[in-house]
Amino acid sequence: MKKSEVPQDKGRVSEKGSRELYYAVDDNGEYTTALSTGWEAKNIVQDHTMQEIQERIDQAQEDVKAGVVSPIVYFMELRRMDWQIVSDYTGMWKWRIKRHAKPMVFAKLNDKVLQRYADTFEITIEELKNYRGEECK
């Protein structure tokens, strides 16, 4: 890539006021560096990924509302986690978390266990317990 071809589209890193470094060749064929504000191709795959993540969150929200899953599933998706990551943060086995994902089992959990989930999702026990499938940040 030539230095003049380094893309200057409006990318995600530029939103936080930064740019990315590229290695590119100058007119004499010598390698040099240039800063880029972003690249459209990256934005497209990034947008698609964010869209898919939002769909997963929306699905979890509906499932909680319908009483199919417990709030744990919703907050797991909201925090971009999977069973393994929740397991690593809470220190509980995956099969145990999957059991807690059932509304019936979840309703009987004590505060000590709930606190571990709340810490993992960075919310309070009340927020976790009282989540009924509404929109939330």
Binding site: Y31, L35, D47, H48, R80
Partner: protein, 331 residues
């Protein structure tokens, strides 16, 4: 308390931390030299490991390897420590800062406040340097960022003790010895040979063979997992390839820059020619990303698009096989 430390933005975090830490110690080494001598160019496909709900793919060796290989080849000694206790991890870092030692840290990016929302995934192989502390705020030099940042004590603890795959466990590292004399020729030839062997490895998931395996997988995705999931997998593939400093085109350009600099340093004009060739291959990797991004624009003929991408990747594998065979002969 602030250590005299020059922050420089680089394309990739691990190269950047290594290069900035060594420069601070008086060894002037560029990012491409770190990447090349650390044999940073790699390719491995891990279909059995799901990352963000998609098959795993890595364009670089495991975190820490680039710096370790570089250190070994140049005779540098690095001190590394991991912790089970966050308080102890902080004490060791604070002690280092008091002793004027800028320290490299492995961190998770999910909780990094200065990262754009779109990049905040549970990815734990990021690297940054702490070069000072004011009150309860750490001064952070993140080599993928244009400027320096600050993190509070709890914020830093959170990213140092992120959980999940490749959990950093407070991992701290810094060079403790740099030799007076360095045999660049030996280091460069050894490193290039290693990269050639990696990329030509007779292992189905590694190097050009790994690329061919991914090509076969891409071709099957739309029928095997459905178009929706295939599109998601593809997005993850391109994200791993071209996101901040990692992967396809970006790495090829850094490697080309390395071949050019190395060729001049040890006076091997053949490496300059190889550098030109690698630059062209890098351009094709970027074309591949552009081609892939088209999938999300037009809805028709999805299988054709996937077949075209599979062909493109196959072509890249052929070019790289030829390239690394030639490079091996030249060196």
């Amino acid at each position: 308390m602030q250590i005299d430390f020059e922050h420089r933005i680089t394309a990739h975090c691990e190269n950047g931390v290594a290069s900035n830490l060594l420069r601070n110690k008086g060894l002037d080494i560029s990012e491409p030299m770190v990447f090349g001598i650390g044999s940073g160019l790699f390719y491995v496909y891990l279909p059995f490991l799901k990352v963000n709900h998609a098959p795993g793919l890595s364009y670089r060796p495991a975190p820490g390897w680039i710096f370790n290989r570089l250190a070994k080849r140049l005779g540098i000694k690095i001190k590394r420590q991991k912790f089970s206790n966050p308080e102890k991890a902080q004490r060791v870092l604070d002690e280092n800062l008091r002793n004027n030692i800028p320290s490299g840290l492995q961190v998770g990016v999910y909780h990094l406040p200065y990262f754009p929302e779109d990049y905040r995934f549970h990815f734990n192989a990021h690297n940054l340097v702490v070069y000072g502390k004011e009150g309860n705020e750490y001064l952070i030099s993140d080599p993928t960022m244009e400027t320096v940042h600050r993190l509070t004590e709890p914020e830093l603890e959170k990213v140092r003790f992120a959980k999940g795959v490749l959990a950093p466990k407070g991992h701290i590292y810094y060079p403790i010895y740099i030799p007076q004399q360095i045999d660049w020729e030996k280091a460069i030839t050894k490193a290039i040979k290693k990269t050639c062997n990696d990329m030509l490895a007779p292992v189905p998931i590694v190097g050009v063979k790994g690329m061919r395996m991914v090509s076969r997988a891409i071709r099957k995705w739309p029928t095997k997992v459905g178009v929706k999931k295939a599109n998601y997998y593809l997005a993850q593939l391109v994200r791993m390839q071209e996101e901040i400093g990692t992967g396809g085109g970006g790495f090829r350009y850094i490697y080309s820059a390395f071949l050019q600099e190395a060729g001049k340093k040890i006076n091997r004009p053949a490496l300059l020619e190889m550098s030109d060739e690698m630059t062209k291959i890098g351009d094709l990797w970027r074309d591949f990303a552009v081609e892939a991004s088209r999938v999300y624009k037009k809805r028709s003929n999805q299988t054709d698009v996937y077949n075209k991408l599979a062909d493109d990747l196959l072509h890249l594998a052929d070019l790289e096989e030829e390239f690394f065979k030639k490079l091996k002969k030249v060196i």
